[in-house]
Amino acid sequence: MVENRPWVTYLTHVMLVVGVLIMAFPIYLTFVASTHTLPELLDRPMPVLPGSHFIENYSTALTSGVKELGVSVGRMMFNSLIMALGITCGKIFISLLAAFAIVYFKFRFRMFFFWLIFFTLMLPVEVRIIPTYKVVADLGMLDNYVGLTLPLIASATATFLFRQVFLAVPDELAEAARIDGASPVRFFLDILVPMTRTNMAAMFVILFIYGWNQYLWPLLITTDESMYTIIIGINRMLAVGDDFAEWQVIMATTMLAMLPPVVVVVSMQKLFVKGLTETEK
């Protein structure tokens, strides 16, 4: 704003604060709910200030979960963590290799592979659920971590990001390394990878969130409760119907489910923003 009108600035701040509050309100409420007992919640209207049963609810959630579910939230968080880390590390690993090959090597089928990988950018898992399910089932990977992770590392966003990063690395660096006697692999490990550390970190943040928040795929793949991810777990907890749901534990679980991705975003905000803006190019 060019003009210097203090009251407009004041108003702007007010609107922003209102915006922040509205965005935060659902979370606040959830937190409040997770600190009361069920009867307190059912007593309409539900309280809007935090209660005193924080420890009780959260420990129940973590150790035993909801009665009908049969699996603890702690276990489900573990599953989610494995899945998220598996997807993140798997994707970064294969993308680095593939991007390196496509940028720095001349080989037959190079363009073909490039377009093949590009093609995967366009089709999210939701449009191929049934046949992918069949493939995973045929490979005997239902209800295990491999089946949970592997199909989701196929898409190419990370490959494209790394490709762009590698293309921006000056040619002379590779030439100097070549004269220094570095083989392609050494060049990749000693020079390229360390140079792209920030991009990898940004990708890590984005992919971790993507992996943790997966819904459709874990829903299909896991039938055994001990393999539920935490988000699926919440759904199962609600499945008993509105009137019987143990809302206080469910809300505690929800808070826990939100925690890792939010912590990652807030603590690595710069990387998160970088990763988001660069993958969408």
């Binding site: 702007t12 701040h13 922003l16 190419a156 040619d171 919440i234 759904n235 509105d242 469910i250 939100m258």
Partner: protein, 293 residues
């Protein structure tokens, strides 16, 4: 886009691309082609008999009222989400762009909802609107309105739209902010000197320069609404009541996994594939022009 320096190793590149290609072929190309293949077959649930029926599945789809309804629902849903998320985000971004102090703090506070899974966002809003103990439900009751999204289709649609938009606001906010940051301050100052007030400056300069960003976000929001919102629907309404929130991607799941209509579900998958390819192509075409802006 070529590097001047290329290695000419005979075997290594193939080894390097192998993992990605392998995963792509097994979990991507093969299933996608299977979906295509299945969509032109009719198979009974026991898999005993398969008939090659060409485009019958597709014709059947487009003449089934349930599917046409689903298309309508999806269109309404995605446009609502896009419009709601874009306008709120734009407003907040404009406000945030204006403040000099505290800008970073607002940015942090407004972007973290994106970290929340769509499905979890659904739970948050479901909780507030729960007919049993939702606080907003209670407030509406006091005001004389009886909210029950389990029975009322429009209410269900409103709920899923709000739940889906909530986290997209963060995403759009981020990109709008970046887009405005890229507008040279000198342009704003020049127009101020020319006599334009803040509102006029916004509509005649800032907004037109944000068009590429807006367009980009529109496409991204549509893609989000079409595909990433499965969790929202599944958590809140499961496509109901009576198909009021049966968006296309949910229908694929419903028909494929619940009703076990593989042919129909595959045909729907193919339709969705076509849509997403079209959207992506549009986006890439436009991004190319965006660079020249």
């Amino acid at each position: 886009m070529e590097k001047r320096v290329v290695f000419g190793h005979p075997v290594l590149p193939y080894l390097l691309v192998a993992p990605q290609i392998a995963v792509t072929l097994i979990f991507f190309i093969w299933p996608a082609s299977q979906a295509l293949f299945q969509s032109v077959l009719r198979q009974d649930p026991f898999g005993l008999r398969t008939e090659f029926i060409w485009f019958e599945n597709f014709i059947e789809l487009f003449t089934t009222p349930a599917y046409m309804d689903s298309i309508k629902v999806t269109v309404v849903f995605s446009f609502s989400v896009a419009i709601l998320a874009l306008t709120v985000a734009l407003y907040l971004a404009v406000q945030a762009d204006r403040v000099i102090r505290g800008g970073m703090a607002y940015k942090t506070l407004l972007i973290w909802p994106y970290a929340v899974a769509p499905a979890v966002a659904a739970v948050l809003w479901l909780f507030m609107f729960s007919p049993t103990l939702g606080i907003i439900t209670y407030t509406l009751e006091v005001l004389g309105y009886d909210w029950n999204h389990k029975l009322n289709g429009t209410e269900a649609m409103m709920l899923v739209v709000v739940a889906s938009s909530w986290r997209q606001i963060s995403y759009n906010f981020l990109f709008f902010l970046a887009g405005m940051f890229a507008i040279p301050k000198s342009l704003i100052e020049a127009s101020a000197i020319d006599g334009a007030g803040p509102a006029k400056r916004f509509w005649t300069i800032v907004f037109p320069l944000l068009m590429p960003t807006t367009f980009f976000l529109l496409v991204m929001n549509m893609i989000y609404a079409f595909f990433d919102t499965f969790g929202v629907i599944h958590m809140i309404s499961e496509g109901g009541p009576a198909g009021a929130t049966m968006i296309m991607v949910y229908k694929v799941y419903e028909d494929g996994f619940r009703a076990l209509d593989l042919g129909g579900s595959s045909a729907q998958s193919v339709v969705l594939m076509a849509i997403v390819i079209a959207l992506t192509v549009v986006q890439f075409r436009y991004i190319e022009r965006k660079v020249e802006y």
